[in-house]
């Protein structure tokens, strides 16, 4: 049970093999495998969408795998719910834990299991003492009597860890725990993690930060496209090797952008800063150019796009379009100036699902359509038809609710809506998320076509092949900053991945 990493391997505490999990037509995990030993810290790494989160949710009992061989401590496991997973000794620490804000720290640890006296009344003193003992064991200074509201994320995670210990967890899964922590908080978390490892707990650590992975873990398992790739002893591998395995796939056959003449700068973003979210963002997008905004989930890409378009405020910096300043925090002014914004979540933000195709396609131009404040249905249909035809939207009729269309065709309706405003800049966030492979290339052809007509395009994408295939330049963001700008000719997966993940100190400015 002690930390004997050098000697004979410790017994396996958790083993999930050949897991398959799909949601409808989308296969999130096609061949997931993870093996966790007692007293080890094991990293699970992969790109966005590689299936790590789904694996975590399988272990947590949130998702049931369609197929899998699953053993915990040598016994077959089949979790119906979170409770089953906890009963098996698995505790999951999420990036942002869910605590009860109105209850005290001690009560958050022991809720439902509070120590009681002979009268079945909660023994608050003992509860507080037990909580204090747990924190002492973890070597952290937290007041058990304080209510949880207002605690930092780091402290909330520690409360979750304390709870896990109090429940005698054998397996601790940490899903990107360090993403929102400061340096000192990360150090403290790692001290706790090592201490638990030395007590024999198996820890699965999910992170995008290589310096953390190499500093903390004993082994590394790499996933790619929902499937297991490899497992290494951390000491026997290198960052270069695992990065290659994370991205290792050929990009050649994917969505090439048609060459288009690149003209004058359309969008110029200078020193854009929103405190705590992103800082000092500089961007130029020229007409006919596609700029890919790459980075990990949470790097601040969408937030930058929202600020440029005027949905969110920003503290500092400026945005100009064709040389004219765009007023901050005023989406209507942005639309009038010629910016179109296709958001990531088209169902919630891009479309009104119950309205017809025609109504959706003309939403952004309904003012121009109106005659004396009234919109003529036939005029609306004409305008809608023009654009849906050009984008080849497949729909039974213009009056069909947009909810009846496939994901790809919905995305085309969103595009049609914005193209009707004849924008000079199109910002498009995750253009092909949730769209089947066949339609993906159609959407890509469309975007490329728009660039060919001289529209400047800023494309946010978490899919490396999409970025590499489509973008003339790749702007990589990491933790709220632009970490690197890579030209198409130099944009290889490894370079983008490294710029998105590597420690700030290791990248030359």
């Amino acid at each position: 049970m002690t930390s004997n990493h050098e000697a004979a391997p410790a017994p396996v505490v958790l083993e999930l093999r050949n897991a398959v999990k799909s949601f409808g037509a989308v296969v999130a995990v096609s061949d997931g495998t993870i093996e966790l030993r007692e007293g080890e810290i094991h990293a699970l790494i992969g790109e966005n969408g590689a299936g790590k989160s789904t694996m975590v949710k399988i272990l947590a009992g949130v998702h049931r795998p369609d197929v899998a061989t699953f053993q915990v401590a040598g016994e077959d496991a089949s979790f119906r719910n979170v409770g089953d997973s906890k009963a098996a000794g698995i505790s999951v620490i999420y990036q942002e834990p869910t605590l009860f804000p109105d209850l005290t720290v001690a009560e958050n640890i022991f809720i439902g299991r509070q120590p009681v006296n002979r009268l079945r009344l909660i023994d608050r003193r003992r509860m507080r003492r037990d909580a204090a003992a747990l924190f002492a064991e973890l070597g952290v200074d937290l007041d058990p009597h304080r209510i949880a509201d207002g605690l930092s994320i780091a402290d909330q995670q520690l409360i979750e860890i304390a709870k896990a210990i109090s429940m005698d967890a054998r397996v601790l899964v940490m899903d990107e725990p360090t993403a929102a922590l400061s340096g000192a908080e990360v150090d403290r978390l790692f001290t706790v993690a090592r201490r638990l490892r030395d007590q024999g707990v198996g820890i699965l650590f999910i992170s995008h930060r290589f310096e953390e992975i190499f500093a903390l873990t004993d082994r590394i398992t790499v996933m790619r496209d929902g499937a297991y790739v490899s497992t290494h002893q951390t000491a026997e591998t290198t960052e270069a090797e695992v990065v290659r395995e994370m991205v290792g796939r050929s990009v050649d056959q994917l969505f090439p952008k048609e060459p288009a003449p690149i003209g004058e700068p359309v969008l110029e973003v200078t020193g854009l800063t929103r405190r705590g979210i992103f800082s000092d963002i500089n961007l130029v997008v020229r007409s006919g150019e596609i700029v890919g905004l790459a980075g990990l989930v949470g790097a601040g890409r969408t937030e930058v796009a929202r600020a440029v378009f005027g949905i969110d405020r920003y503290d500092d910096g400026s945005v100009t379009l064709n040389g004219t300043p765009i007023p901050p925090h005023d989406p209507q002014a942005s639309i009038d100036a010629g910016i179109a914004f296709v958001p990531e979540d088209r169902r919630k933000q891009g479309l009104v699902m119950d309205l017809s195709v025609a109504r959706n396609a003309t939403l952004a131009v309904r003012r121009e359509l109106a005659r004396m404040g009234l919109i003529s249905a036939s005029h609306e249909r004409e305008v809608a038809e023009e654009w849906t035809d050009r984008l080849q939207v497949k729909t039974s009729s213009q009056s069909a609710p947009v909810s009846t269309l496939s994901g790809g065709n919905q995305q085309k309706v969103v595009l049609a809506k914005w193209l009707a405003t004849e924008p000079s800049l199109l910002i498009i966030d995750e253009p092909t998320r949730g769209i089947d492979v066949g339609t993906k290339s159609e959407v890509h052809r469309l975007i490329s076509d728009l660039a060919g007509r001289g529209i400047a395009i800023l494309m946010i994408s978490s899919e490396l092949p999409e970025v590499l295939g489509m973008a003339d330049r790749v702007v990589v963001m990491r933790e709220g900053r632009v970490s690197e700008v890579i030209d198409r000719s130099d944009a290889v997966p490894e370079a983008v991945m490294r710029a998105a993940t590597a420690a700030r100190e290791e990248v030359p400015a």
Binding site: T98, F100, D102, G112, D141, D143, I147, D149
Partner: protein
Amino acid sequence: MSNLTATAEPTEQDSTWAARAFESLRHMRELPVLAALVVLIVVTYAVNPLFLSPQGVKDLMLNSTIVVILAVGQAMVIITRNVDLSIGSIVGLTAFLTGTLFSGNPDLPIAVVLVAGILLGGALGMFNGLLVTLAGVPALVITLGTLYIFRGLNNAWAGGTQYFADDRPQAFGNLSVQTVLGIPIITLIAVAVVLVAGLVMARTRPGRDLYAIGSDPDAAKLFGIPTTQRVLSAFVVNGMLAGLAGVLYASRFNSVGATTGTGIELDIVAAAVVGGVAIFGGSGSVVGAAFGAVLLTTITSALTAVRVDKFWQQAIVGVLILAAIIIDRLVAMRNERKLRAEAQR
């Protein structure tokens, strides 16, 4: 690793003592309402000393009794992030049940009538609770519906019939007249309710579960708390307390009929909120709600005592409710910001 530690971190100890003192004050959500009550009584007494005459004090206690019992039950429901608007109608039905039972059988033991009223109230509360937990429709809507249903039943049952003080046994009416150590018996019952409910809510697992549910219903489910069962029992207990209040209403007041208890539900919700029970659930206490109920009844009496025109009294009560809630909200927001800032520094 260590090169990530560039930003200076404050030492934890700096804030601990201050935060703890601050925290325990912040935790005392009953404090503002208690302070307001004291100020109100002192000021009114200064203007009109008759306000605290023996009869004046007794009237204050009697007037508060039924509202306190109802506020305790309502607080338990609100803490689970629900609300019960039907309690006025439950009071009406159980008060009329009490009148009916006594007019038919004047020799019926008081205990039997109490139990009957509590059982009827509990059954109506369970009806509410089942609809809320099973249908998944907000309690606001469900209990707005049952408010009318229960009142409709009351109307159909009572018709034009009213029962008066003469229709019930002297001993039953005496519950609201006789005192022990200067405290009316029905008020003692209310105090017992507050103490028991306060203990259950603060010191038992099911009581704490109610707070957890109101604090974050989804998380509560994830933690394996039997949320359906708990919310259902909160509604049942609230119904039982409304039933008890209905029986005591028949003891306290001269007449009961088809309209008894109409419109009091909003007074009760107001009392709970003024007493520090957060309308979004998760925080506050039944003791605070009881104080809130006493405060609101006392305000009404105090305004009469200082001869404020009856016409203005309701408006002033309304202003006080808003003031209490806005102050509570401002304090909470300031504290939140302060705590967040401390945590993030």
